[in-house]
Symmetry: C2
Subunit: 638 residues, 2 copies
Amino acid sequence: MNANDKFIAASAHVDAAAVQPLPNSRKIYVAGTRPDIRVPMREITQADTPSAQGAEKNPPIFVYDCSGPYTDPETPIDIRSGLAALRQGWIEERQDTEQLPGLSSAYGRERAADPALAALRFPGLHRTPRRAKDGMNVSQMHYARRGIITPEMEFVAIRENLRRREYIESLRTSGPTGEKMARLLGRQHIGERFGAAIPDEITPEFVRSEIARGRAIIPNNINHPESEPMIIGRNFLVKINANIGNSAVSSSIGEEVDKMTWSTRWGGDTVMDLSTGKNIHETREWIIRNSPVPIGTVPIYQALEKVDGKAEDLTWEIMRDTLIEQAEQGVDYFTIHAGVLLRYIPMTAERMTGIVSRGGSILAKWCLAHHQENFLYTHFEEICEIMKAYDVAFSLGDGLRPGSIYDANDEAQLGELKTLGELTQIAWKHDVQVMIEGPGHVPMQLIKENMDLQLDWCDEAPFYTLGPLTTDIAPGYDHITSAIGAAQIGWYGTAMLCYVTPKEHLGLPNKQDVKEGIITYKLAAHAADLAKGHPGAQIRDNALSKARFEFRWEDQFNLGLDPDKAREFHDETMPAHGAKLAHFCSMCGPHFCSMKITQDVREFAASQGVSEQEALTRGMETKSIEFVKSGAQLYKQG
Amino acid sequence: MNANDKFIAASAHVDAAAVQPLPNSRKIYVAGTRPDIRVPMREITQADTPSAQGAEKNPPIFVYDCSGPYTDPETPIDIRSGLAALRQGWIEERQDTEQLPGLSSAYGRERAADPALAALRFPGLHRTPRRAKDGMNVSQMHYARRGIITPEMEFVAIRENLRRREYIESLRTSGPTGEKMARLLGRQHIGERFGAAIPDEITPEFVRSEIARGRAIIPNNINHPESEPMIIGRNFLVKINANIGNSAVSSSIGEEVDKMTWSTRWGGDTVMDLSTGKNIHETREWIIRNSPVPIGTVPIYQALEKVDGKAEDLTWEIMRDTLIEQAEQGVDYFTIHAGVLLRYIPMTAERMTGIVSRGGSILAKWCLAHHQENFLYTHFEEICEIMKAYDVAFSLGDGLRPGSIYDANDEAQLGELKTLGELTQIAWKHDVQVMIEGPGHVPMQLIKENMDLQLDWCDEAPFYTLGPLTTDIAPGYDHITSAIGAAQIGWYGTAMLCYVTPKEHLGLPNKQDVKEGIITYKLAAHAADLAKGHPGAQIRDNALSKARFEFRWEDQFNLGLDPDKAREFHDETMPAHGAKLAHFCSMCGPHFCSMKITQDVREFAASQGVSEQEALTRGMETKSIEFVKSGAQLYKQG
C-alpha cells in the first residue's frame, strides 16, 4: 500500500506492483483491419507434458487483458504524462467533433486557475477538450444505427473472441496427439442461456447490430482517447466493475491512482471513481489520464460537494455544469439517478433500511425539500444532449435499490426500475447508450425476478448490478455473499457485475480489498459465462485442469486468476523449488494424492505402449496377476 | 496458530482462541421434557435504539451454536480429560447396548499396547467401548421406525427451532412499538422450496418421522456420547462440514485438535477427520473425545496406511477391523466408497482429471488389480451390521465425482450415483442411517440435475456435497468458486455442504484457512435457508440490518458470523471508540452516508412527534418551504 498522503504531482510515480510482469505471460496485440487497431491480450505460455512418446506441447492460451500498457514492458510508464491517446485518430477522422478553445465548465475553469491546486494538478494534459460539432451526435449507438462499423466496434469484436479459433488450431497442429488435444481442450458443456443469443464468433457487424439495438454499449467518451474499447451486453462476456474513490475520512490521489492500476491489473473491466472527499476534480483527472479502461462516476456526488453537502441547495445548473465538467475530462459513463421519483419516496417509509444509494438519498432529500419532481428526471432530455455530444453512456442509477434482504424487490425498487425503462426509450431516441443499474441485497429466490423484469421493462438494455448480496449476516465477507448472487444474475443475463469488497458496510476498501473484490468478481463472472455456455469460456478451465492433473504446478498457478496467491498458498507448506515438480501437495501427501494415483497408472500404461482403452481392457482381462505385477494401471498418459 | 509439532499428551492444552467468550454473547441451555435435555444456543444481546419517545428495546436473538462447552465459562475445559459424556444416560437407559471388556479391533488393541505411543496417547478415556447387544440395532433410524422418540430427537427439534417463537414474543412485549417490531423483524420473503416440506415449527415427532423415512439422519455413535445431537436433512437447516486432518507432509495432533475446536467455534456442524499422516488412530481419539459435534472419517485412508500405501494389498479383513476400530472410538459417520464399481472405472478413462476422490482412486486401483468387484460393495451388508451395532451413519462416498468442470455430470459420476441409490435401499433395510456424497466441480447450469437425480435415485436420503466448484480458474479462491455452487445446491435441497478452504488444490489448510472455509460455508448455507424460506431464517438478517441502519456498530459486528473480522475491518480506518457511535464509516464519510441521510430525516420527524406517514404527507404537502426549514425529513424513527 502506497501511503501517499501528501500527494505531490511532480513526484508522483506508478505503483511498482502494477507494472510487474505477470508470470509466464506476454502482452500481445492482435491486429485488426488497419494498423492502428491493436487489440491487447495476455498470452500465457505453458510447459510441455512429459510422456513416454516424447513431450506433448501445451500451446499458450490467451486471456482477456484489462491492464493496458502497464503490463507491456515495451511501453514506458509515467503517470505524470498519462497514457497514449490510442483512439485519438479514430475520433478525429470522423470529423464530427471539434477541439474546444478551453473548458466549457465554469467549475472546471475555476479549478484550473486555482494556484493552490498547482502542486497536485495532473501536469501531463496538453490538449483542450473535444466536443461534437453543433448538431452532431458522436455516440457509438448513433454510428451503429447509421450502419457504420467503427474501429471501436472492430476492436471489441477481436477482443471478445480471445483468439479462440487460433488456440484450437494450435492444439490441432501441436503434435501427434493434436486432434485429441483439440477435442479435449476445446470441448465444453451446453449452456443454459435464458434467451441470450451469443454467436460462436463475434463479428464487427454483430457488435454494431447489438449496439444499434441498445443491447450492448461501448462506453467511450471522446475525451478519454487513452481507453481501450470494451463492450457491455448480455451477448458478450460478462464484465465487472471496480469501485474506487476517496472519502472525506480516508485516502489520497496517489492511493486512488494505485487502486485504479491495481484494479485493471487483476481484471477490472471498468472502474468507477466514487470519490466524495477532497479534490474530487483533480483525483478524477489523474485517474482518467492513466486509465486503460472506461471510467464511470456519479456526478451528483461532486455536485453535492459544490453546495457544501446540502442536498436542498442542489440546482439543475450546478448539476449541468458538473456533467459538462466531467464529460470534458473524459468520464465514459455517468450514473444518473433519474428514476427516483417523488411518488416512490413514500414507498420507502416502511423499509428496514430506507434508501441506501448515496445518490438516491440525496435526490430524495432534494425532492421532498422542494416538493418538486427529481430534476434529473425533468431535465433528462437536456442530459441526453450532453451525453451525445461527448459519447458518455448512461448508467441509470437504482437510487431505490434494497439495502437489506428485507427490502428486496419491493414496490419502490420495482417502481423505479419501470421508470428506468421509460428513460431508456428516451435516451435511445437520442441515440445515447444506456445501461441500467440493479440491486443490491436480494435473497436467491428473488434474483431471477429482477433480471426478468429488467429485460422486459428496459428492453434488454444491459443490466449492471451490485452483487446482489444474498444474505445480510456476514459483514466482512460481503464479497462472497454478493458473489453468490452475482454469479447467478450474470448467468441469467446481467452484462456487468459491480464488485463488492470485503470492507463493504465497514470502511473504505484499500488496495488489498480491491484485489480481493476483483478476483472474487472475475470468478463469478466467469462462472456465469460457463453457465451460459459462452463459446470458448471453458478453454481456460480445461487448460488449468489439465495442468493440475499433470502436476504442472507453475502452469496451474499461472493459468489461474491470481498466480501470486496460488503460489504463495502452495509454498506455505512446500516452499522448496522441487515441490513444484512433486506429484502431490501438502493436502494429501504422496500416498493419498488421487491425481497421482490415476496419473501413475496412466503413465505406466503409456510406457507399455498401449492405448488407454487397451490398458483398460488389458486390466479388465488379465485377471489381476500380470496387472498387479505391471503396476495396476488404469489409463495411459496423453 | 499453535505450532505444536512435538505433541506431548501430558502438556496438551486447549487452544486459547477457542475458549474466548464471543462478544455480547451468552451460552444458554433450553430445557426439554426432562432435565438432562439441555439444548445449547448462543444468545446475542443488543443495545437499545435511542429515539425521541425513549429507548426502544432490541431483545436478544438466538443463534445456532456448535461450539459445545468451549464457549461456556461455567464448564472447565481440559482437553486431556475430554468433554463430558452428555448422552451416556440416554444410551444406557435404552438397555440395548453392552459395555465391552475391551477393544474389539486387533489394531486398536495393538495401538493401545504400544509403549512408544504412551507420550501422545489420549489419557482421559476411562471407559471401554459400547456395542449393541447381540441382535439389537441401536440406530436412531431403528428407534424412529419403531415409533420411539429418543432424547436425541427431542434435542434436535428444540435446537432447530432456535427459540424463534420466544424471540418474536419478546419483540411484541418489548415496549410501545412492540407489535410493529414483531411485524418488521419477524417478516420474511416467501421461499422457493423445490419440494422440501419444512414445517413452521419442528416437533420431536416430525424429527422422528423424517428419520424413519430416511430423509434425515442424526449421526450419533454410541461411543461418542460427548456429542450434542444435530440433524441433517432437506427439511431442516442446511448444515456444513469442516474437513480437518493431517497429511504425511504437514501438521500434528495438537494442531488438528485446535482445528476441530476452531471449526466448531465458527459454526462447523460436523467435522471430518481426514488424517492420512502419522498416528491417525491417536489423532482421531483426541479429536473425538474433545468434539461436541459428530465426527466423520474415511476409514479406507487408515486401512491403506496399514498396508503401507499399497492399494492392491487391501483386504476386507483389514477394512473390517478398521471399521470396528473406528466405530469403537466413536466415529459418527463413515464415508464408504461402495459405489465405485468395476464397470464404472473405464468410464473415467476419457476424463480430464480421472478419479479425484482419494478413496475412489484407491478402490479403483484395487478393483483393477484384482479384477474383482469393489469389496466395499460385495461386503456391504456386513458393513451394515457393523453400522447398526454402534449407530454409525453411512456417508456413501462419491468416489467418481468430477474433479474438473470438464468431467461434470458424466456417465461415471451418474452411474455411481445410481448405485448409491441402490445401496441406500440396502442400508435402510437394516435401519442404518444414510447420506449421499455429491460433487465436486460442476458449472452452474448442471448443478440442479445433480440434485434432481439424487432426490430421485436415492429416495431423498440427505445429500452432502463438496461445493460444487463452479469454475476451475481460481486456485486460491476455491472457497468462493464453491460457495457459489454450494449456496445453489443447498437451495435446491442439499442437506449438508462440505466446506472448501482457500487452500484447496494447493496445500493443507491451516487454522486460518479453516475459519475462512467455515464462515464462507455458513453464509452459503444461510443464503440457501433464506432462499428456501426456512421459517425464521430471516430473523438474523433483519436484526442485523436494523442494527446497521441504526448505526449500532457493535450490534452489527456481533450479529454477524464473524464479529472479530467485522470489527477489525471497521477499525482499520476508524479505530477510535467514538467511531462505534458515529453515523457513518470511512467508506462514504459523514456527508455521503445514505443511511445517515435517511436516518437524520426520520429522527427529526420523530422529534416533531409525527408518524412516518404524517411526516411524509406533510413533506409532500407543505410545498417545500416549511419542510426545508425543519430539516427536510422523510420519516420518523421507531
